[in-house]
Symmetry: C2
């Protein structure tokens, strides 16, 4: 179709994806098992390639956090192989019948789940995502075109070679998984405009990355990620539940998207609950700031500036605000939330009902830690990411969210 | 939030949509009935406004086809009011439970259908779409921001005023439906970039319009429409079914997206079927062209150039091509189809199974006219359009396709 090396790769992924779409579950499972074995057998090879990426990362002073994400050792690679085998245990969504009916004229309609075709993914310096997405794409019958970032180029190249070899070894078309890291930033841009080659594009990573993809992409995008998550402690909240849920939501793993960033407390509960909440958070090392209502009750707390309500810290920082009513809490959430997850702590039935009905987020909770917004916790097995948009998928995305549907109409000569 | 008149309208739609999201079905039905009555009572007012649009259209020589689409008379307006009442009879998708489970830790998960929020629509010179989309948006609890085109500006303004007044009259927030025609082409561009105000954008109209929206929009888009539809007559096809289905698919209403554009015929059926197919199509006034295989069998037919396979005629023109095999038919479809609808005419079970499995279109049919790809025919009642993309909705879109979902997690203090 073209002599362009970039489009050549995408064309090959598309051809392979067409074959995968009609592969049986057993064939796909053989491919997944072969990938797990190839990673186990390729540990040394991957670690050598990964060392090159780590060396360049250190030269470029990318920081300890990024270096840690970039690093693959034997333990992590064996963990990745185990995760691939976990995907084998999940149900295969392809071919599921979603709806169906027989029309008055005898036409038989069936809406069935089919693969998207080719799934594109753009992420940053996390070579483990290369394996995760390849495995999920394979299980759901999709090809995958991966842009994992120049920082992990060597690791991703070796991982994709292992995956391609594994697929080929069991009679599947290895072209189904492609990396385009060698085309650099321009390759990422071309992927975003590869209509006809790529059916859906999933950006995973920083707000900046996701924003660039949304702005530039002409391929349909599923946005993932940003989590400016709120916990609202209602006037009627139980003290122990409130302290446990706020502490767990904020401090259990503060660097991830489902960690809480802002605590809203009803003013009628301030005297009763605020000192205990603040003590528990400080015990976890959380740096707190509060609005005027909060500092009036607990004087030794920093004064919050307006920015704090709009910031996804992803660290042990938290803003606390007193609200006069459930309405004020819902309005604050509507203004600042990224619509990922919000939780109310309450013993009041009507307030619980109003909160889940009126808060417009992917996941709304009553008396539960926001840390539960996660594909694994929801029972999806593997997770592609957490969608914060409303189109196609909302909340944790599992295998089913990597599928589209197709209508099949079986007739016997019907015309209009 | 802003003194900008454009964003002011969008903000008001968003506020009203939040109210609509929790309206009961009975309240929404009262709104729909009031809209139907307002249109019936406003016939004269609309016809006067429509006359201004028609006059400008004639001055600008927009053509008879567009003038006919633009025209509203009493009969058409009463038909629109009746269509609004039809929407009352459809089931309300909001609040439907899609999935649910109780986790090992006791958390109760429920995925429920919720409105998108604000639906944006961009269409051209068809004021009836203003009423259709407003009614569907209302029933599904969404606000609607409508860009119906400068050519229909006066008609749309009066229709939206009638709708707003009707909603207000039954205690609903009339701001839920807004027109932005007065902001012209720039307004359409701003709507495409109105992230945070509009949750999904649906372009309806020409390929050029849809392409512009896909290129420019940062709001998630559902593409509708283009239909380069194929009928494949297999070697084993029944003669009567083939002739009826090809004739109906092409000639029943050639100007719409589910009308067939290309006929593929297996070479082994050429002598048996081609003369009858061609005679039937000529009887309907279809202008035919064929490839070399076709002209060898039926000499008095124009020779097709390559362009014909890639053209959505939307008129009484059709290209006919002989293929050597089912594989060649599927490859031709894969190359040229817009992935709307394809139909196989066959008596062979395996070929039917392979066609529905391997053809990657929104709707794939066996022994049925392509004209059945339609929300009304599928039993959806009203239709928003026909999605030719794979994200969120594929094929005819009814009320359910105007919804998103939300996860509700009910706990009793669970933490991780």
């Amino acid at each position: 179709m073209t002599s362009d090396a970039f489009l050549e790769k995408l064309s090959r992924a598309r051809t392979a994806a067409r074959e995968l779409a009609t592969a049986t579950t057993a064939q796909k499972h053989a491919g997944l098992e072969a990938i797990a074995e190839a990673i186990e057998g390729g540990v040394d090879e991957v670690v050598v390639a990964n060392a090159l990426d780590l060396e360049r990362g250190r030269e470029q002073n990318i920081g300890d956090g990024l270096l840690d994400r970039l690093m693959l050792d034997e333990a992590r690679l064996l963990g990745l192989a185990a995760a691939v085998r976990d995907v084998i245990r999940l149900p295969d969504p392809i071919g599921d019948v979603v709806r169906g009916s027989t029309l008055a004229n005898g036409l038989q309609l069936t809406q069935v789940r089919v693969p998207f075709g080719v799934v594109g993914a753009i992420y940053e310096a996390r070579p483990n995502v290369t394996v995760d997405i390849a495995a999920l794409a394979l299980k759901s019958g999709n090809g995958a075109v991966l842009r994992g970032g120049t920082a992990a180029e060597n690791s991703n190249r070796v991982l994709v070679e292992l995956i391609q070899g594994a697929l080929h070894g069991v009679g599947l078309n290895g072209d189904a998984v492609q990396t385009i890291d060698e085309f650099g930033r321009e390759g990422a841009g071309r992927l975003m405009r590869a209509r006809g080659y790529v059916d859906v594009l999933i950006p995973r990573g920083s707000a900046g990355l996701i924003s660039r993809v949304v702005q530039e992409s002409t391929v349909p995008v599923i946005e993932t990620g940003a989590g400016l998550v709120h916990v609202y402690v209602d006037a009627s909240a139980d003290r122990d539940k409130a302290i446990n849920i706020v502490r767990n939501s904020k401090a259990h793993r503060p660097s991830v998207c489902n960690a809480a960033e802002t605590l809203l407390v009803h003013q009628d509960a301030a005297d009763r609950l605020l000192p205990g909440l603040i003590a528990a958070l400080r015990e976890e090392g959380v740096a707190l700031s509060g609005d005027a209502g909060v500092t009036a009750v607990v004087p030794d707390i920093a004064t919050a500036d307006e920015d704090v309500w709009a910031t996804e810290h992803l660290s042990l920082e938290m803003g606390i605000k007193l609200v006069e009513s459930l309405d004020e809490a819902i309005e604050h959430i509507d203004r600042y939330s990224t619509r990922h997850t919000e939780s109310i702590v309450t013993e009041n039935y009507d307030n619980a009902q109003r909160f889940v009905s009126e808060v417009d987020s992917a996941v709304v909770m009553v008396n539960a830690s926001t840390r539960f917004t996660d594909g694994g916790e929801f029972g999806f097995g593997a997770e592609v990411g957490i969608s914060t948009q409303k189109l196609h998928a909302r909340g944790p995305m599992g295998l089913q969210e990597l599928t589209s549907t197709k209508w099949i109409v079986r007739g016997s000569g019907q015309i209009r």
